[in-house]
């Protein structure tokens, strides 16, 4: 902007989403839940593993959705928080022999702190500047993880191998299936907590900031506090997802957490619909299965397919999966009336 004055009445950085439009109805939620609980019984271990990753990336996209759809801040650096969570879990499990389930809350807290601290300087930034700072964070992260200084704990370029946990209490269940249900329970917990967060006083503060920061501060919202808080919460959830990801993949290495992961998560959010929490699962399915199909056609094609589809979404369905779901709902309503 070369004009010295910038008029605030211009469109906000992220389109407003009404609070009611952020979730699914109870009935639909139960159907989805039932499908998620029953499905693994009928499929092979590899598909269960993919479904676990689906939930894990779903959590990471959800976290970004809270940040962007909720408080209107960008992040192209979610891969950095994901990496910190993954490494925290891996290091605690391998070096401190800690139980895998206990490492997750610690990964969440570490990432919350990291996100909160990163949110402090980022407070002064908005829109493109924030996107830039987080973009730089994501590109710098793999190099930070490779640093010789931390090599004793992180394993440097080699990374760390993580052992997969067995099902507890003598349950007759494969490791993959146990991990899937474990992830499912955590995901449901975080999903419900996120919905409650957005419906609470803090959630209203986030949305007020998203829609008009100056008006929000005039209403008495502590803008600085809530913006950093949104960053912290988002990073914390991403950290838990990262920890789960490390356990599921059984391996952490710096090159697993490049800018491409951050781009994928961002893409998942846009495809799922910004500000529509259930869309996180749709977005996550998109970023897991589309590259598989694309790489099947030709190696290295996934970036191009991602890009083209992203443009299609931007131009044709700017609200992502939410828009598709709404149109489907209307069509269904019409058919039932006839």
């Amino acid at each position: 902007m070369s004009a010295v004055e910038d008029v605030v009445t211009e469109a906000p950085a992220v389109e407003a989403v009404p609070k009611r439009a952020m979730t699914l109805g109870l009935g639909t939620s139960l159907v989805v839940l039932a499908a998620l609980v029953i499905a693994p019984i009928f499929v092979k271990n590899f598909i269960i593993f993919q479904m676990t990753m689906l939930l894990i990336y779903g959590l990471a996209v959800l976290a970004l959705n809270i940040l962007t759809g909720g408080s209107g801040q960008f992040s192209l650096g979610q891969s950095a928080f994901y990496a910190v969570g993954a490494y925290t879990s891996a290091i605690l499990m391998e070096h401190a022999n800690m139980n895998y389930a206990l490492t997750l809350p610690i990964a969440g807290i570490v990432c919350f702190a990291f996100g909160y601290l990163f949110g402090k300087p980022a407070l002064r930034l908005s829109g493109v500047y924030l996107a830039l700072a987080t973009f730089a964070l994501a590109t710098a992260m793999p190099q930070l993880l490779k640093l010789g200084f931390f090599e004793h704990w992180t394993g440097g370029v080699q990374g760390l191998v993580v052992t997969k946990p067995d099902a507890p209490f003598g349950l007759k269940m494969s490791q993959d299936m146990w991990l899937y249900y474990f992830t499912l329970v955590i995901s449901i917990g975080i999903y419900i907590a996120s919905i409650n967060l957005l419906r609470s006083r803090s959630g209203r503060a986030f949305m007020a900031i998203r829609d008009n920061e100056i008006a929000a501060s005039a209403m008495g919202v502590n803008v600085a506090l809530y913006k950093t808080l949104a960053f912290g919460v988002s990073a914390g959830i991403t950290g838990v997802a990262g920890g789960l990801g490390a356990i599921a993949v059984q391996f952490v290495a710096p090159d697993g957490y490049t800018i491409l992961l951050a781009i994928s998560l961002f893409l998942g959010m846009v495809v799922g619909g910004v500000g529509w929490l259930p869309g996180s699962l749709v977005g996550s399915a998109f970023i897991i299965f589309v590259p598989n199909i694309a790489e099947g056609i030709s190696k290295g094609l996934s970036g191009a397919v991602f890009g083209v589809l992203l443009f299609l979404v931007i131009f044709l369905v700017p609200h992502g999966a939410r828009q598709v779901a709404m149109v489907a709902q209307q069509l269904l309503g019409k058919m039932i009336k006839k």
Binding site: S2, A3, V8, F74, I214, F266
Partner: protein, 292 residues
């Protein structure tokens, strides 16, 4: 002392490249208020084009000029097809668009020319410059080309009608439209010039970092750092920022223990955040006043 002079000169040479990237970023930022995250990939693609032409037997400078023309046209094409319809869209949509472009170009370059590292020729040679051990002829060439480019751009913006029209369209689009300037095409022109400037940066740095689809990521981050340091609203600032960042990077790598090649990107990150926190408008940019 010789080490110091040597590092400063080498810093100025790489700084020239950062200056070019920063200039390209600023050109687009001036025109549409967005940072082009795909700028590095556009430059990388242009560099591959010139390499391909040289493989087909076109001499270096012929390929250089042809690439400039193709990049210019490509930049305009991208703006007309993809970003003109997004002009009124929220920031988020635009960021998504740039990210999509990044993915597409990177992936296609990999598909066409695969991911192996390629040698790229230099027209200047790599012998010591003027017999001194301080700087190679290629480094001197990088600085020379950048300075020449700056002078040409300065003349273009200061002394030609179309340069004046572009400045007007960037500064006050509505008033510019009222005096009959086609601001929409001025934006497209800005994109074309940014793509061409970026391709120069790519072709100059390719002999140093070698040619491969991810070669520009680090350079782009440094270009961003330079643009932010100099101020996103000031082309001159972007260039000075580029040289400063280049020198800073080299000196930090030499004199601060533990900062080797492996910390290159974190330094750029730290630089960007420091500048944005303490002087968001940069060294030469104008601060923006928000009016309620």
């Amino acid at each position: 002392m010789e080490l110091f002079t040597n590092q400063v000169l080498a810093g100025i040479a790489t700084g020239a490249i950062y200056a070019c990237m920063a200039l390209a970023v600023v050109m687009i930022y001036q025109a549409i208020d967005h940072l082009n995250f795909a700028q590095g990939e556009m430059a990388m693609f242009s560099t591959f084009l010139s390499w391909q032409m040289m493989q087909w037997g076109v001499p270096y400078w012929g390929a250089f000029v042809l690439t400039l023309i193709l990049s210019f046209a490509g930049g305009i094409l991208i703006e007309r097809l993809l970003f003109k319809p997004l002009a009124k869209a929220p920031v988020l949509t635009n960021v998504a668009g740039f990210i999509a472009l990044y993915g597409i170009i990177n992936s296609f370059a990999g598909l066409i020319w695969d991911f192996t590292i390629k040698q790229y020729p230099t027209p200047f040679g790599s012998s010591p410059f003027l017999g001194s051990q301080l700087i190679s002829t290629h480094q001197a060439g990088m600085i020379g080309v950048t300075v020449l480019l700056l002078i040409l751009l300065f003349i273009f913006f200061q002394y030609t009608r179309i340069g004046l029209a572009m400045r007007a369209a960037a500064a006050l689009p509505e008033s510019a439209r009222l005096v009959g300037i086609n601001t929409s095409w001025m934006i497209a022109l800005g994109w074309g010039m940014a793509a061409a400037i970026g391709s120069i940066a790519g072709m100059l740095i390719a002999p140093v970092v070698f040619l491969e689809p991810n070669m520009m990521l680090g350079v782009l981050i440094y270009g961003f750092a330079a643009a932010v340091l100099g101020g996103l609203t000031s082309p001159l600032g972007a260039v000075i920022g580029g040289f400063l960042v280049g020198v800073f990077e080299n000196l930090a790598g030499t004199y601060i223990p533990g900062v080797g090649n492996e910390l290159k990107l974190p330094i750029a990150l730290a630089l960007i955040i420091t500048v944005l926190v303490f002087k968001p408008a940069g060294l030469f940019g104008r601060p923006i006043v928000k009016r309620v």
